[in-house]
Symmetry: C2
Subunit: 211 residues, 2 copies
DNA sequence: ATAGTTTTACTGAACGATCGGTAAGTAGTG
DNA sequence: CACTACTTACCGATCGTTCAGTAAAACTAT
């Protein structure tokens, strides 16, 4: 019914397993399956029963690996946010002209998006229904705010146009980049590096043919 | 707890009502409340009970106006899709140079997005869990495809850069525009017309200061 | 080497809560 | 008295979660 890899192909942990022929899953494997399901159906519409079905085990087996549904969400969001926040600590994001730093961060964001595609996808679709979700949204806003400050600095330097509001620019920029999770399929002809180049180029130079 | 208008402020249909002091709601009013809740919590996470609470009535009172939860979704999506599809039938979208038609459609899309903000928001967050959702997603894809053809034509005319893949351009373009539903708040200093101008300008000319 | 013990990784059944939806009755209006 | 716009009470299904039990692997002791 679905085109994802069948449960049996994922992570028999190598060594020991349960009783009969069944494979033993470890936490990262369960998390991978869970995030995939969350993205396919939405977090709320994904039941623990369906998750178990995708793993080829029972509902309660999942509870051996994680403490609950929200725990899976928390783990997944931590990974996505960690990747994004990591960009801002890199040298390329902290030193040099503002426009260069902005380009570095945007390129890094595209890289993280592609590397941890399902995890970031999950993050970008949050609604803030629970405390965990609201906490993640806050961290995401903090990241956006940091990038927004880079835009401000680049504008002050005269590198960026000043006829459009700075907040609007940041939001349109992220709108463009974040939309990648909705359509990019890794493994195609468009490589992550080329995608990053395209995004940066379209963002800075626009759609018109180069003069 | 939430900052939306309290139930009592919306649409006592004017004339006749039920029994005691309670107001009588009509279908558009129920739909408005429902779409607002769907966007706040997500469609799946929004229960009919919560909907009734927001309306200030009982769960089953909602069923007097609509045949069920999915009916509310169907009605809302019809409105959003009708608005978008309508743009493509307008003269500005069917005659003239490809770049002008593209600009017209993008501007129109921004306009519809803002005019029917909650309805389009709902559309853009669909996951395709039910037949109704899948049908709406198909219509949305058809709309995107028509715009994609405009991009192709503008490229063939030499109006748009040809060094970036046409599909990538269309997707980044929609990524930018569709992101508006995630942050635009009507009634602020940024008017819909100014927003449309900014979007078109950033998309075609990029972020660099004009030469 | 083998017996006994502990640990790992589950199974199947059941829990209370909540879900979308329904049935039957009723207060107010024309 | 018919009609509108509800009400309260409830249905079966499904939700996330828990629990007691257990087969097999891993470890320890002799």
């Amino acid at each position: 019914m679905n085109r994802a890899s069948s449960p049996e192909t994922v992570t028999p942990t190598g060594g020991g397993n349960g009783r009969n022929g069944r494979a033993a899953y470890d936490l990262p494997a369960v998390l991978d399956i869970a995030v995939g399901a969350f993205n396919d159906y939405g977090y709320d519409a994904t039941s623990m029963g369906l998750l178990a079905e995708r793993l080829g085990t029972s509902k309660s087996a999942v509870y051996y690996h994680v403490s609950g549904k929200e725990d899976l969400l928390r783990l997944a969001l931590e990974r996505a946010l960690g990747g994004l926040e990591g960009i801002l600590t890199l040298p390329g994001a902290t030193a040099g002209p503002a426009e260069d730093r902005l380009r570095f961060v945007l390129r890094g964001a595209v890289q993280v998006l592609v590397d941890d595609l399902p995890y970031v996808t999950l993050l970008l679709r949050l609604r803030g229904n629970t405390e965990i979700e609201r906490n993640a949204l806050e961290r995401r806003r903090a990241f956006d705010h940091q990038v927004s400050q880079l835009v401000d600095q680049a504008r002050a330097d005269g590198s960026l146009r000043a006829d459009v509001d700075s907040g609007t620019i940041t939001r349109l920029l992220f709108g463009m980049i974040n939309s990648i999770v909705e359509w990019y399929k890794p493994g195609g002809t468009l490589t992550p590096a080329q995608l990053a180049d395209d995004v940066i180029s379209v963002a800075f130079d626009g759609l018109h043919r180069p003069a």
